[in-house]
C-alpha cells in the first residue's frame, strides 16, 4: 500500500497541512493588508509633501510680486532662489537619491525666508512631545 493511500497518514499530517495552508492564506491576507496600508501611508505622506511645497511656492511667488518694491534685495533674491529650487525639484520621483536632500534644502531656505520676513512657518514642525536634553 502506498503511503498516500494510508488514511492514518492524512490524520497524522493534519497538523502540518493545516499550518501550511494557514501560512499561505496569512501571507496573502498580509500582502493585501500591507498594500492597502502602504497605499494609505503613501497618499498621506505625498499629500503632506505636495501641500508644504505648494504652500512655500505660493508664498514666495506672491511675495516676489507684491513686496518687490518694499522688500530688501536679499529677501527677494531668496524668494526667487526658493522658487527656482522648487521648479527643479522632481516632486513625483520620491525614489530619487537626492529627493530628501532637495526637499530639506527647500524647507531650510523657507525657514530662513520666514525668519527674514517675520512670517510664521506653518505645518513644517517636528513632533516635540517627549523630554530631551
Amino acid at each position: 500500500m502506498e503511503m498516500n493511500d494510508d488514511p492514518f497518514n492524512a490524520i497524522s499530517n493534519l497538523n502540518s497541512d493545516s499550518y501550511n495552508s494557514g501560512y499561505k492564506e496569512g501571507v496573502l491576507n498580509g500582502k493585501k493588508l500591507a498594500l492597502t496600508q502602504g497605499f494609505k501611508i503613501g497618499i498621506q505622506t505625498s499629500f503632506k509633501i505636495a501641500k508644504d511645497i505648494g504652500n512655500i511656492y505660493g508664498i514666495c511667488s506672491l511675495y516676489k510680486i507684491q513686496q518687490a518694491e518694499q522688500s530688501s534685495e536679499k529677501i527677494i533674491k531668496l524668494a526667487q532662489q526658493i522658487c527656482d529650487l522648487i521648479d527643479k525639484f522632481d516632486i513625483v520621483n520620491c525614489h530619487d537619491e537626492n529627493f530628501e536632500i532637495n526637499m530639506n534644502l527647500i524647507k531650510d531656505k523657507f525657514k530662513q525666508f520666514c525668519s527674514l520676513t517675520s512670517l510664521k512657518s506653518v505645518n513644517l514642525k517636528n513632533d516635540s512631545r517627549h523630554l530631551n536634553f
Binding site: D108, K109, K111, Q112, C114, S115, S121, S128
Partner: protein, 330 residues
C-alpha cells in the same frame, strides 16, 4: 592638584552651563530655573578675592530651561539658548545690569547651544529640530538669519567656532561632527567627522585652531586633525581615541587657550584634567592625565570652562544645582 576655590549656590534647579566673559572677571551660569546668574569676586585682594557673589539674576526672558549661555567676544553681550525655542541677546547696560535687545525665533524645538564667531559678526545656534542656524550680526544690533543648515539627521547638541577663522562646528546625537564654511552668501557643510559610537556632546579647538577634541556618550575623547594633503571631502580624521577615564557620558570638554590643558566634565560626577604628551613615540598615550577629581559634584557635571585670563582657574556646574570654581596647580 585641583583645589576648590568656592561653591556658588543660588540656582533653584540643575545648572546646565557656565561661561567666563572674555576678561575673565565675570562668570555666567544658567539652568533649569529659567535664569542666568552673573557671578564675580567680591574684591581683587586678600580674603575677598576668594569670595564670590551673585551680582545679577536675569530671569525675565525665557519661559523654560536655559540650556546655554555664551559671551560675545566684546564681552558686552550674552546669548542664551532655551528650551522655549528662542535665543535671547542680553546687552550689558552697566556693570551688572543687562537688558534684552533681541529675541531670536525660528527654531522649532528646544535650542541647545549658541556660539559667537571670533569677530562677533555671526552667532550660531543649534536645536533639537536637527538644524543649525547662522545669524548675521550687524553693527546696529540687527540679527538676521543668514542660513539654516539641516545636515545632521538627529538633534544638534553643540556649536562652536574656530578661534581664528569663520569655520563653524556642530556636534550631534547622530554621532557625528560637521563643519561649515561660508560660500558666497550661503553656508555649506564642508566636513563630516565620524568615529564616535554615540552622541557627540561637545568639542573644542586647540589654541591654534588646527586640531579638535570631542567628547561623547561613548565615554571616549577623540582628537582630530586636518590632513591638508587629502583632496577629498573629508580631510579631517581622528588620530587618537582616549578611553578608560570616565565611566559615564562625557558632557563637556574644554581646551584651555592659555595653558593648553584639557578639562572634561562627566555624568560620573568627576572632572579630569589632561595635557598633551609631547613625546613623538606612537606607542605612548596622546594625553596624559594630570588630575582626576572624583565627586567634584554630587551629581552629573554638565559643563566646564577655563578662565580665559587667570591661568589654571576653571568653573564647573552640575545637576546638583551648584557652580564650583577650581584652581589647578600642576
Amino acid at each position: 592638584m585641583l583645589k576648590l576655590v568656592t561653591t556658588l549656590a543660588g540656582h533653584d534647579d540643575m545648572v546646565w552651563c557656565v561661561a567666563w566673559n572674555p576678561k575673565g572677571n565675570l562668570l555666567a551660569s544658567c539652568g533649569g530655573d529659567h535664569s542666568v546668574r552673573i557671578w564675580s569676586q567680591k574684591g581683587q585682594n586678600g580674603e575677598e578675592a576668594n569670595q564670590w557673589t551673585c551680582r545679577a539674576k536675569l530671569s525675565d526672558g525665557h519661559s523654560r530651561t536655559i540650556r546655554w549661555v555664551s559671551w560675545s567676544p566684546c564681552g558686552k553681550k550674552l546669548a542664551t539658548a532655551s528650551f522655549d525655542t528662542t535665543i535671547i541677546i542680553w546687552k550689558q547696560k552697566n556693570d551688572f545690569d543687562f537688558e534684552i535687545i533681541a529675541n531670536l525665533e525660528g527654531h522649532e524645538n528646544e535650542v541647545k547651544c549658541t556660539a559667537w564667531s571670533i569677530d562677533g559678526s555671526f552667532l550660531a545656534s543649534c536645536s533639537r529640530d536637527r538644524s543649525v542656524w547662522v545669524w548675521d550680526v550687524s553693527e546696529d544690533e540687527e540679527y538676521e538669519c543668514s542660513s539654516v543648515l539641516t545636515s545632521h539627521s538627529q538633534d544638534v547638541k553643540h556649536v562652536l567656532w574656530n578661534p581664528h577663522k569663520n569655520i563653524l562646528v556642530s556636534s550631534s546625537y547622530d554621532n557625528s561632527i560637521k563643519m561649515y564654511q561660508q560660500d558666497v552668501d550661503d553656508w555649506i557643510n564642508t566636513e563630516t567627522l565620524e568615529s564616535h559610537q554615540s552622541t557627540v556632546w561637545s568639542c573644542d579647538y586647540n589654541p591654534e585652531g588646527t586640531r579638535l577634541i570631542s567628547c561623547s556618550d561613548d565615554k571616549t575623547l577623540k582628537l582630530w586633525k586636518e590632513d591638508p594633503e587629502k583632496k577629498n571631502k573629508s580631510s579631517w580624521s581622528c588620530y587618537s581615541t582616549i578611553s578608560g577615564f570616565h565611566n559615564r557620558t562625557i558632557y563637556s570638554v574644554k581646551w584651555s587657550k592659555t595653558n593648553n590643558l584639557i578639562a572634561t566634565a562627566s555624568a560620573d560626577n568627576s572632572i579630569h584634567i589632561f595635557k598633551e604628551n609631547e613625546s613623538s613615540d606612537a606607542n605612548e598615550p596622546t594625553l596624559l592625565l594630570l588630575e582626576h577629581k572624583e565627586n567634584a559634584h554630587c551629581q552629573d557635571c554638565n559643563c566646564i570652562d577655563w578662565n580665559p585670563v587667570q591661568n589654571n582657574l576653571l568653573a564647573s556646574c552640575s545637576d546638583d544645582g551648584t557652580v564650583k570654581i577650581w584652581k589647578f596647580d600642576e
